[in-house]
């Protein structure tokens, strides 16, 4: 069941301070003089449904330009606004409630809610969604198809764009038109064009891809020419040949440097990846296997040490020889150490004896001098002072002894003593010198022995047992080491040269492999038609073309069906429009006006024509325009109701500009529509009101509003009487 309005409650809305009234299932007539609140009553319904959409100047309804939603009290102050619209639904009565607090700003949203029959309440977006789900119309539909306001009918019909939209809405041909546009878009020409464009893009891409391997091959060949591999030398087996050459040179290098390299098989192109891997690792492996550097370092070190040791032997030997010669010369000159020690001992003994004789002589002379002194002071110079014996001439003898003979002897003794002492000193010096030279010779000998010992360390084990001269053996070893070093240095040069050549060969091999891969890619891409993808592509193009052809056939049939449906619909709608127009004008048998669709480059447009196919608007007077406008509105609502969609029509002073006869006709049309969907009419007293108030079929409620009290301009609208018929 589609929702149907059954009651409105207003508080503070426009001309109403407060009020409530029931709406009839069929027809509700609100009658009253101007300014009594009729329009406010019907406006309340749509304000409750659509809020600011309905009240704004941009709503498309001219009279909204001066709308004031809130009722102003005696002081001119706006209060809270609330409108409650009760709707009868299949589940019970639902209430739409819109509230706006006093002082709300133009951009503030209303408090909008839906109170459902189960007493649950939906707000905001959920409330709006419920309205959509219940089939209540949107603002655009409402404005075009379900309500009529006080503005002139001409406004609905004179703007051609609006008129076409309005008429399209009436015919329901918006849907037909969109279907037609879809079908137009599905024309095979468009699809085939898309396929061809795709094919073109694919071809460009394919050509670019096909050219790429050949360009790569060309680039590879240029690179190979730079590596001394001219294009004419290039052949499919070249990589294999280069790889085998690399392996052969590796084998030869191993043989030359004394190791056996582990080499991969290289019988076919399939083995080239493994060979390439080996080629990349070969320099490192070759150096490890040859151990040339380590061996060379060791041999060079050994040679340097042995050479140093060898170099040390010569000077040590020379030093020893000189020491030995000096010592030998000394011995020859002075005798050996033992002889000199013996001579020294004898010389010391002789010196000691001479010194003893000298000391005795000195003592004797001292006695003589003492005796002379004694005698010199003795009273008897002839008497011995010791024994008192008389010794004539004793003093003279003593004096003589001291003067001449004694002095000579003493001098001789001193000379002898000096000579003997000098001899001892000489012998001591000679002995020291001899000893030093002997020691020097011994030291030099020890040094020479150490040098020989150092050499022996470098000699092969067993050398000592061989009895060979260590120096000669060392020299032989040194020569052998030098030969080793030379060999190793040559080996290193050989290895370096070989690896340099290997690097160059490896680079060639890699370049040739890249070239070969590029050639294979170029060959593979040279004939894309042999690939499964080509057949799939052709099959896909065939399928797409077949689909386009099928669509062409189906599209043609659909277009024809749509054309027929549109024509049928146009016929039905025009019948209804004609009926309503005929009722209003009282000329029900006349052809009147009809809606006619016309295809233009911009799309389908609709206009009103007369029976002869001429545009009628220019020839209609105001009353006729209003009649057409109302007929259109009623036909729209009827179409909507018959289609099972929610429809209730609100008419605000629809009798404007109509004479009594037309107003009576309009009343007939309204009663006819009210039997199909609820209609709410606000109208001043007159022919239309009389007919609507007096009629009995279909059922109706009549509300008479009291005239506004001139003394109480702010009092608000009041219901004077209610009647149910």
């Amino acid at each position: 069941m589609t929702p149907r309005p059954v009651r409105i409650e207003l508080r503070g809305f426009r001309g109403w301070t407060e009020g409530a009234f029931e709406l009839d299932r069929d027809l509700t007539v609100i009658v009253g003089p101007n300014g009594c609140g009729k329009s406010s009553a019907v406006n309340a319904l749509e304000w409750c449904l659509f809020g600011r959409d309905a009240e704004l100047k941009a709503s498309g309804i001219d009279e909204r330009a001066d709308w004031e939603v809130a009722h102003l009290d005696e002081r001119g102050v706006a209060g809270d606004v609330e409108v409650r619209l009760a709707l009868e639904t299949g589940e019970g009565t639902a209430r739409l409630v819109r509230r706006r607090p006093a002082g709300a700003k133009p951009r503030d949203e209303d408090d909008f809610s839906v109170e459902l029959p189960d007493e649950s309440v939906l707000r905001g977006v959920e409330a709006v969604q419920w309205m959509g789900a219940a089939g209540l119309p949107e603002w655009g539909t409402w404005r075009r198809a379900l309500c009529q306001h006080q503005e002139t009918a001409r406004a609905r019909l004179t703007a051609s764009g609006d008129r076409s939209t309005l008429l399209a809405s009436l015919l329901g041909l918006e849907t037909h038109e969109s279907a037609r546009e879809v079908l137009e878009g599905c024309k095979p020409g468009a699809l085939v064009k898309e396929i061809d464009e795709e094919v073109g893009a694919l071809e460009r891409d394919l050509l670019a891809r096909l050219a790429r391997p050949a360009e790569e091959q060309e680039e590879c060949e240029r690179g190979l020419a730079a590596l001394d591999l001219e294009r004419e030398r290039l052949r499919p087996t070249l990589a294999l040949e280069l790889a085998r050459g690399l392996l052969e040179r590796a084998r030869a290098l191993g043989a030359e440097l004394g190791f056996a390299p582990e080499l991969p098989d290289c019988e076919s192109e399939h083995e080239l990846p493994r060979v390439a891997d080996w080629v990349a690792r070969w320099p490192e492996r070759a150096r490890e296997a040859a151990r040339v550097d380590a061996r060379l370092r060791r041999a060079s070190g050994l040679r340097a040490k042995l050479d140093a040791a060898d170099q040390a032997v010569g000077p040590a030997e020379e030093r020893w020889r000189q020491a030995r010669d000096r010592a030998a010369g000394e011995v020859r000159a002075r005798g050996d150490v033992a002889t000199q020690e013996r001579l020294l001992s004898e010389a010391r003994k002789a010196r000691d004896e001479a010194e003893a004789a000298l000391r005795r002589d000195d003592a004797a002379r001292a006695l003589v001098r003492d005796a002379r002194e004694v005698l010199r002071h003795a009273h008897d110079p002839e008497a011995c002072p010791v024994c008192a014996a008389r010794a004539p001439g004793l003093a003279a003898r003593l004096e003589a002894e001291l003067a001449a003979g004694g002095e000579q002897r003493h001098a001789a003794l001193e000379d002898d003593c000096g000579e003997r002492g000098a001899r001892v000193e000489e012998l001591e010096r000679g002995l020291r010198a001899t000893r030093e030279l002997v020691q020097a010779e011994a030291d030099a000998r020890a040094s020479l022995d150490r040098a020989h010992g150092a050499l022996s360390e470098f000699l092969p084990a067993g050398h000592a047992a061989s009895g060979r001269d260590p120096l000669a053996a060392a020299r032989a070893e040194l020569e052998r080491l030098e030969r080793d070093v030379r060999d190793l240095e040559r080996g290193r040069r050989v290895l370096d040269d070989a690896l340099r050549a290997h690097h160059a060969d490896a680079e060639r091999l890699r370049a040739v492999q890249r070239w070969r891969e590029a050639v294979l890619r170029a060959e593979r891409s040279a004939d894309p038609t042999s690939s499964p993808a080509w057949r799939e592509l052709q099959a896909a193009l065939d399928a797409a073309a077949a689909f386009a052809a099928d669509l062409e056939a189906l599209g043609g049939m659909a277009r024809e069906a749509q054309e027929r449906a549109s024509e049928e619909r146009e016929r039905e709608v025009n019948e209804r429009l004609g009926d309503h127009y005929g009722r209003i004008t009282g000329d029900e048998g006349a052809a009147g006006v009809r809606v006619r669709g016309k295809r233009t480059p911009k799309g389908l447009t609709f206009d009103l024509e007369d029976a002869r196919g001429k545009r009628v608007l220019a020839t209609l007077n105001q009353a006729a325009l209003n009649s057409v406008s109302l007929a259109l509105l009623l036909a729209q609502a009827e179409e909507r109701a018959r289609a099972g969609r929610a429809a209730f029509v609100v008419l605000d002073e629809p009798g404007q500009s109509l004479d009594d006869e037309h107003q009576a006709g309009l009343a007939r049309a309204i009663e006819h529509l009210a039997a199909i969907c609820p209609v709410i009419v606000a109208t001043p007293p007159g022919a239309l009101a009389e007919r609507l108030v007096e009629g009995r079929e279909p059922s109706r409620r009549v509300l008479k509003l009291a005239p506004r009290d001139p003394g109480e301009p702010r009092r608000g609208a009041r219901i004077e009487s209610r009647e149910e018929r």
Binding site: K193, D196, T529, Q538, A544, A545, A549
Partner: protein
């Protein structure tokens, strides 16, 4: 088509200009004969381009070449095809596009579906392809082009190809 075929056709088209279509028609005739057509009639001046007997059935082909992806059939072409249909032959439109992704399309002719003078994408012919004929002739056409391209590109290309065709017992020139 194969890139090399595409390249050769492009060269042949550049070198022979307006004769290109006729040369391709003759190469197609050679291809049919090589593929085993019992008889091939080459109509050089009037009516349908090629008539052939293939596996015991008479076929009539209107041969078209196009540089891009579109072709236009004249009223005489369509009338000729229709007449051959009425005469008991199966009629086809054989089209070779000039794009790499094109290949021979030998499409069954259906009277009334193609309007004279209209420009059609060759894609529109794809649903009506005769796969058997196309498969039989595709590789043979490439071979014929490869073998006779030099002769076709010469000063008397058509005559050279006629000489080639004349060697086939099943060939007839009308």
């Amino acid at each position: 088509m194969k890139p090399e075929v595409h390249e050769r056709l492009r060269e042949l088209s550049d070198e022979t200009d307006k004769e290109y279509g006729k040369l391709v028609q003759k190469l197609l005739a050679i291809a049919f004969l090589e593929a085993g057509a019992e008889a091939v009639t080459d109509r050089c001046t009037q009516g349908i381009d090629l008539e052939l007997t293939w596996r015991g059935r008479r076929r009539a082909l209107e041969v078209k070449t196009c540089a891009g992806g579109t072709l236009r059939l004249g009223a005489k072409d369509l009338a000729g095809l229709a007449a051959r249909e009425e005469g008991g032959a199966t009629a086809y439109v054989a089209v070779l596009g000039g794009r790499l992704l094109d290949e021979w399309i030998i499409a069954r002719f259906h009277r009334g579906e193609l309007a004279p003078g209209e420009l059609y994408s060759i894609t529109r012919l794809r649903p009506y392809r005769e796969a058997e004929l196309e498969a039989a002739v595709a590789a043979k056409f490439d071979d014929a082009l490869h073998e006779h391209r030099a002769a076709a590109a010469g000063r008397n290309g058509q005559r050279a190809l006629d000489d080639v065709l004349a060697r086939y017992p099943g060939y007839r020139r009308a």
